[in-house]
């Protein structure tokens, strides 16, 4: 017995609340009533990520994609599709009312995602060079070696509009051109895989899923700028990515795609891996170069830019993993195709690591110009547990918080900077009403204090001072004047710090003060943290009318500071309480209250 059709009913939270369960049951009922329950299997699935058009029903193998389905539609779907083999036209998704109903693959914007960088991730075996080659791998290299001059490669990359995906967004083609024109017999290509922001794992996943795309791009870059040697600088904390890179490099060498006289073209290129010790500052390009040279990783003033004077004083191109992963596609599909995706100034796609208080956390890739609302509420499936959205942090400790009212602005390098945040490498942390802005700012500032290399005073002293002020506010000892001080130091750091670590360290604090000044003032004047995250301002108490005296909280308390007789209301001794929240989490009767 084999089923002829499969009906998938979305069981995501969004669709669930719009009666998908009823649809599911009706479909099964109808299939039985019409005597076709042996021909069709009805199953529930995870979120399709198209929630505003939910509930969604998809029929396989025809790939019919039905939106805004109602429980009453079950009969028609079974009667038409399963029995007569005809799609129910009125339920099919259309981009707009006028357009013809289209098949799933043709609807570019269905699912909202578009995978260029992640084209092979989750598709090929990353440890098989043959599978990479089968999916047009090393085809761009063929072009670069045999059909194009270095100038033509650079012109193509420039025309594509590809910009650095590490955060700053410098045009990749211009970087390559500067290095090509820079005099010198020895030049280098460096891949920056020192991904260090909290919550970011785009580069790790790209390398783990498709290491050859990076190697291919580096050889192409080498050919374009006239370099014969490349380094991949990757953190030692990424063992699996390193392992797969090593395998890939060996395979490419065995096939003659790395090494001397690649494919008989006469062009030589070799790649070595350099492991970083996990210092955040080594993601800054000049510090990274120092680290490769075996020195302590500290930035130096620019100019001269690495394209002029880089590794061991030689012209060096440094590109981020994601930037490089785009390069083979730019050459195989062409600059015109690539530049048709995205916005006017930001071309192509961006990979984001979507984390935090979101239903569908994951690694996503969207065309530039997608709005944050689409990312968070459609792809991400909204906020966990039905809580209220508070803000989203892009760019990690270098970025700022973006709030509800700005969610509809399309993502581009410029738009995010205008909102007081930045593209950054692509970490995206979603926060809900239970997150405290003071606590978050303090966390990021503590990270910057730890990671500041100490070379320049604005960053070394500024981060420390700002952290001290934030700590004071979080403990309820702040004054209103502290906010002005934070802004003053923050602005000074932004202007005067040597590199972007210090130059952007104040962003989380400054943007939260701008959007949530009232919450800062609440901490200062009312000694209150509404999210209950700032431990010193939280008081735990037991509501005697609700407490049944089960004693569970007392057993969980690590101090212990909860006392009481069996089956009688218990009491918390506030002077001993360390505010760990164990009792709050343990109580099944809502008797422990946080104030």
């Amino acid at each position: 017995m084999a089923y002829k059709n499969f009906i998938l009913v979305c069981g995501g939270t969004g669709c669930e609340s719009s009666r998908s369960d009823e649809i599911y049951k009706n479909l099964i009922k109808e299939a039985e009533a019409l005597g076709v329950s042996r021909d069709v299997q009805v199953v529930k699935t995870g979120c399709f990520g198209f929630c505003e058009k939910g509930p969604i029903v998809k029929v396989l193998p025809s790939e019919s994609f039905y939106v805004e389905v109602k429980p009453e539609d079950a009969h028609e779907i079974i009667a038409e599709q399963v029995i007569k083999g005809r799609e129910v036209a009125r339920l099919l998704y259309r981009k707009d009312k006028k357009s013809e109903t289209t098949k799933l693959e043709d609807i570019e914007f269905y699912q909202k995602q578009f995978r260029i960088v992640l084209r092979n991730c989750g598709v090929i075996n990353p440890e098989s060079i043959d599978e990479y080659i089968a999916r047009t791998g090393y085809q761009a290299l063929e072009k670069a070696l045999f059909e194009m001059t270095p100038e033509e490669i650079i012109a193509e990359v420039k025309a594509s509009g590809l910009r650095g995906r590490g955060g700053a967004g410098f045009p990749t083609g211009m970087k390559w051109e500067a290095a090509r024109k820079s005099p010198g017999d020895i030049k280098y290509i460096v891949c920056n895989a020192d991904e260090g922001d909290p919550g970011a794992y785009m580069d790790r996943s790209t390398i783990e899923g498709d290491p050859h795309s990076i190697l291919e791009a580096m050889v192409i870059a080498g050919r374009a700028v006239g370099a014969n040697f490349g380094y991949i600088y990757i953190r030692a904390e990424y063992p699996l990515a390193i392992e797969r890179l090593k395998i890939a490099i060996q395979q490419a060498k065995d096939y003659g795609l790395l090494g001397k006289d690649i494919l008989g073209s006469g062009f030589d290129f070799d790649i070595e891996i350099r492991l970083g010790a996990g210092a955040f500052v080594c993601g800054e390009e000049t510090a990274l170069l120092q680290s490769i040279e075996g020195k302590r990783g500290m930035p130096r003033p620019k100019p001269p830019f690495p394209a002029i004077k880089g590794l061991w004083g030689k012209p060096t191109v440094i590109n981020n993993v994601e930037t490089l992963a785009n390069v083979p596609v730019v050459l195989t599909r062409g600059a015109a195709w690539f530049s048709s995706i995205g916005t006017e100034k930001s071309k192509g796609t961006k990979v984001f690591a979507l984390t935090g208080k979101i239903n569908n956390s994951g690694l996503i890739e969207v065309p530039m110009g997608t709005t944050l609302r689409e990312i968070i509420f459609d792809i991400g499936g909204g906020i966990r547990n039905g809580k209220k959205f508070k803000g989203v942090q892009t760019g990690g400790p270098s970025g700022g918080i973006i709030v509800e009212k700005d969610l509809d602005s399309p993502i581009s390098y410029e738009s995010l900077t205008a909102l007081g945040s930045m593209m950054g490498s692509g970490g995206m942390i979603v926060m809900d009403e239970d997150d405290c802005v003071v606590d978050i700012s303090k966390f990021y500032m503590a990270f910057c204090v730890d990671e500041s290399c100490g070379k320049c005073a604005p960053c070394r002293i500024g981060t420390k001072q700002m952290h001290g002020l934030l700590d004071k506010i979080s403990k309820g000892q702040g004054e209103e004047a502290d906010l002005a001080k934070l802004e003053q130091i923050g602005k000074a750091m932004t202007k005067a710090a040597l590199c972007m670590l210090g130059g952007s360290a104040a962003n989380p604090t400054l943007s939260t003060i701008r959007h949530f000044r009232d919450e800062y003032l609440e901490h200062i004047h009312d000694k209150k943290c509404r999210a209950g995250k700032c431990k010193d301002l939280v008081v735990y108490e037991i509501d005697p009318t609700k407490c049944i005296g089960c004693g569970l909280c007392a057993r969980r308390c690590p101090v212990p500071c909860i006392t009481g007789e069996k089956k009688k209301p218990h009491v918390i001794d506030g002077s001993k309480c360390i505010k760990c929240g164990e009792c709050f989490a343990a109580c099944k009767f809502g008797a422990v209250v946080k104030r």
Partner: protein, 131 residues
């Protein structure tokens, strides 16, 4: 393989492309593909991989099935993820495929040709290499 020339690379690509399209690897017509990025492995993908291999042996399916690994499919919230590609069935991505449901997957999908309820997820985007 020894170092290749341009023509050899092109011939290899054509050959491998054909194999990939026929979905016929090593003479086996069913593929079970396990997402093995750091995220998948942390969620137990290695145990899932082993459990699938064991279940295939137990149900005499091993001769038809190749179990492969791949990188992150992007569905971090439902790791481990497993894709099943086989004749007469639509290709399906399963999430939350911990080792304890591996045998159920083999029995339901591969042996009985039906889908495993509540574990199905969607491929997040179209494949630009094919389209």
């Amino acid at each position: 393989m020894a170092k290749m020339t341009l023509d050899q690379l092109r011939a290899l690509r054509a050959q491998k492309q054909g194999e990939l399209e026929k979905r016929n690897v090593e003479g086996k017509d069913i593929q079970v593909i396990v997402g093995m990025g750091t995220c998948g492995i942390a969620a137990g993908a290695k145990q899932t991989f082993d459990a699938i291999v064991a279940a295939l042996e137990k149900h005499n399916m091993a001769g038809r099935v190749v179990v492969r690994q791949t990188g992150c499919m992007g569905l971090c919230y439902v790791e481990p993820t497993v894709e099943v590609v086989m004749p007469d069935m639509p290709p399906v991505i399963y999430g939350k495929m911990t080792s304890d449901v591996a045998e159920e997957l083999v029995v339901k999908h591969l042996v009985e040709h039906s889908l495993l309820d509540s574990h199905i997820f969607d491929r997040p985007a179209i494949d630009i290499v094919k389209h």
